[in-house]
């Protein structure tokens, strides 16, 4: 794949005018993607790659600063140690100055920690863990995507207005799940509502029957779910079979297309936050969704959209800096704006968290689509859903 792309680029360079060739003589701008392309979390890495494929196609004609763009993919299988090793290879052997497409927060924390030493930019487009822009923040890290706490904030704002009063929190037993359940509990308590029970099923739980029984007993009206991809799919299937989803509204921190495709109609009625719902009604997004569907034959999921936005923004910033020198790109990116697919983005200098709109969505059926889709219930402006600098504090 890489070699073929390289050959195609070489062939193209022979057929271009001399002044363009001079710019290309500096060599391509390389973007390294140590992504989970196999294993249990492959769906996230594959989303990053799909977005990169579309972006590569869009940028092919003009390049960045007149230079071609080359993506180099490495498979991490979702393992932090492998991710660091592959990232190191990308930096030292391939000479990439930009790393992105890392799927899991655990991988991101490990890779990001190395970036100040390597002097390369880590651009998160998927990673939710709050600590990346708080405790673990450094100059070389940028988060283009909505973080986990920001997602929890968006759905909490929505629930504060709803008639539901009693909630159960179910978070996977690791950093993201526990953080999210705690963040939700804190914000829902501020809204004068109750969390009547909390549980932390282990990652990879395949039978949720015991938890379903407890949620029913708690007489909660809604259950807040911070479960990673497959766990959420299994939970939704089983809650439906037990008839629980009719009694207790499922509220998901991230409502993904992947879950909707796998669960199907049993998912309809679930609400949650979305980092990027492909149904956003902006001209730019409609155009993106159409072209994405043309290329891949599917509708873009959350990380397809967020990764595409990250790449487009990065390209604009490099163009603005007039160089791919890492320090100059960082300076150009700080306190700069970008018109994303779902609205305006702003990169804060203080913690490199992109301020952006937040969404509350509901899973609905629409005969135009082969699977249920996210319908936007409410949109919140960036300043409402982004925490204070280098904190997870929204007050």
């Amino acid at each position: 794949m890489n070699r073929r792309r390289f050959l195609a680029l070489s062939a193209a360079s022979l057929a271009t005018p001399a002044f363009v060739r001079r710019a290309w003589a500096q060599g391509p701008i390389r973007i390294g993607m140590p992504a989970a392309l196999s294993g249990a979390y492959a769906q996230y890495g594959i989303q990053a790659r799909r977005a990169a494929d579309l972006f590569a196609k869009d940028i092919k004609a003009k390049g960045i600063l007149g230079r071609p763009v080359e993506f180099i993919f490495e498979d991490t299988a979702g393992d932090p140690a492998t991710a660091v090793r592959k990232a190191q290879k990308l930096v030292e052997k391939d000479g990439v100055k930009f790393l992105t497409g890392v799927a899991l927060s655990s991988e991101a924390l490990a890779v990001s920690a190395k970036c100040p030493e390597w002097k390369v930019i880590f651009m998160s487009t998927i990673n939710g863990a709050g600590t990346l822009t708080t405790k673990s923040f450094h100059r070389y890290f940028f988060r283009v995507n909505t973080s986990g706490p920001m997602g929890a904030r968006a759905i909490s704002l929505y629930l504060a207005e709803s008639p539901m009063k009693r909630f159960f929190a179910l978070g996977s037993d690791y950093a993201w799940g526990r953080d999210s359940a705690a963040s939700f509990t804190q914000q829902i308590t501020v809204a004068k509502k109750d969390v009547v029970g909390t549980d932390y099923p282990p990652v990879g739980t395949k039978d949720f029957a015991s938890y379903i029984a407890k949620i029913r007993q708690s007489r909660a009206e809604g259950v807040y779910l911070a479960l990673p991809g497959q766990d959420a799919t299994i939970y939704m299937k089983q809650a439906h079979q037990f008839g629980l989803s009719r009694e207790v509204k499922p509220i998901m921190e991230i409502l993904e297309l992947e879950n909707m495709k796998a669960v199907g109609d049993a998912m309809v009625g679930a609400i949650g936050s979305s980092r990027y719902p492909f149904t956003v009604d902006t001209p730019k997004n409609k155009d993106f969704v159409r072209r994405f569907h043309e290329l891949h034959g599917v509708y873009p999921d959350m990380f397809d959209g967020e990764t595409y936005e990250g790449l487009e923004w990065l390209a604009q910033v490099i163009a603005k800096a007039g160089t791919d020198d890492v320090e100059k790109v960082i300076d150009a990116w700080e306190d700069s704006g970008y018109e994303g697919l779902e609205g305006p983005f702003f990169m804060r200098k203080c913690d490199h968290q992109a301020v952006q709109p937040g969404f509350a969505v509901e899973c609905v059926k629409d005969p135009k689509y082969p699977h249920p889709i996210p319908k936007i219930l409410a949109t919140y402006a960036g300043d409402k859903v982004t925490p204070k600098c280098r904190t997870e504090d929204f007050s």
Binding site: G39, A40, A42, D207, A213, K214, T233, K237, G264
Partner: protein, 286 residues
């Protein structure tokens, strides 16, 4: 009371599923003396093939009948082309081989089916819930209880009451002696490996409506299955039944009554049993 009944049924349904997976693992160890890391992947393959069958025919029942033999044939083929040649070697070779097979099969499934989990609906007859005296319980889970029991009894009767079962037990006990007495040991091994894979495939089909078919489901289940086999005794079908019940109960009741320690409970039970009976509850002391 309804509460206790529900927890009991939850444990039984999970045990039914665990038994289908662990029975094959136990058989393969008992007769081939191989710890088969690829066993979980045959379970996953069963789930995916089940999805395909349902997608093609629109029916769930044919999948239960068609898929297990398919998975079994694939297993038998793999045994006779790879595993057969390294029985004499140290166990580490068998571990490496089966682990490699697991990776190859898993990634092949990912390439063929893509990363999205595949949902399978239960057949109409098993959708919805039964009313058990005020407790609404999903029909499909009751079906899993029945399926686990039926298959368990069938396999046990086969091994104990038929001539083929007798030969298999003879090979398990002493394959050199069985060979001298005219049993075709190589063939028995291939057939047993195939049958074990078929059982795993059946487990996969049965699991699909409950968990969907997804990448990584094999790795997830194999850990539990190992615990079942260690608790019940390697090579013993009755042991697998007992082990499945114990692990199913430990997981579901642990998650319900002592959620913070649910994972520990399963391993604690295993530890206690190993201290007093290192060969497992119903295994044979060597």
């Amino acid at each position: 009371m309804a509460n206790v009944l529900e927890q009991l049924l939850n444990a039984l349904a999970l045990a039914g599923l665990l038994f289908l997976v662990s029975a094959g693992l136990s058989l393969v160890f008992g007769i081939l003396r191989v710890v088969n890391f690829a066993h979980g992947v045959f379970y996953m393959l069963g789930a995916y093939l089940g999805f395909t069958t349902v997608a093609l025919t629109g029916w769930f029942w044919p999948a239960l009948v068609v898929v297990p033999p398919l998975v079994g044939v694939l297993g038998a083929l793999l045994e006779s082309t790879t595993l057969r040649f390294i029985y004499g070697r140290q166990p580490i070779y068998q571990l490496l081989l089966t682990f490699g097979l697991a990776l190859i099969l898993e990634e092949s499934i990912r390439v063929l089916y893509g990363p999205t989990a595949k949902g399978v609906d239960p057949p109409p007859l098993l959708q919805g819930a039964f009313d058990l005296g005020g407790l609404l319980y999903p029909r499909y889970r009751l079906f899993l209880v029945v399926l686990g029991c039926t298959v368990g009894i069938a396999v046990w009767l086969f091994l104990r009451r038929t001539r083929a079962g007798l030969v298999i037990r003879a090979v398990a006990q002493n394959h050199e002696m069985a060979d001298c007495l005219g049993a075709d040991v190589a063939r028995v091994r291939t057939l047993v490996f195939g049958a074990a894979c078929a059982l795993a495939g059946l487990g996969g089909v049965a699991a699909a409506p409950m968990t969907t078919a997804y990448l990584g489901m094999g790795i997830g289940v194999i850990v539990d299955a190992f615990v079942v086999v260690v608790v019940g005794g390697l090579g013993s079908i009755a042991g697998s039944m007992a082990g499945s019940l114990i692990v199913g109960a430990a997981q579901t009741w642990g998650a319900f009554y002592l959620p913070e320690t649910a994972m520990v409970i399963m391993y604690a039970v295993m530890g206690v049993i190993l201290v007093f009976r290192p060969w497992g509850l119903l295994g044979e002391e060597e």
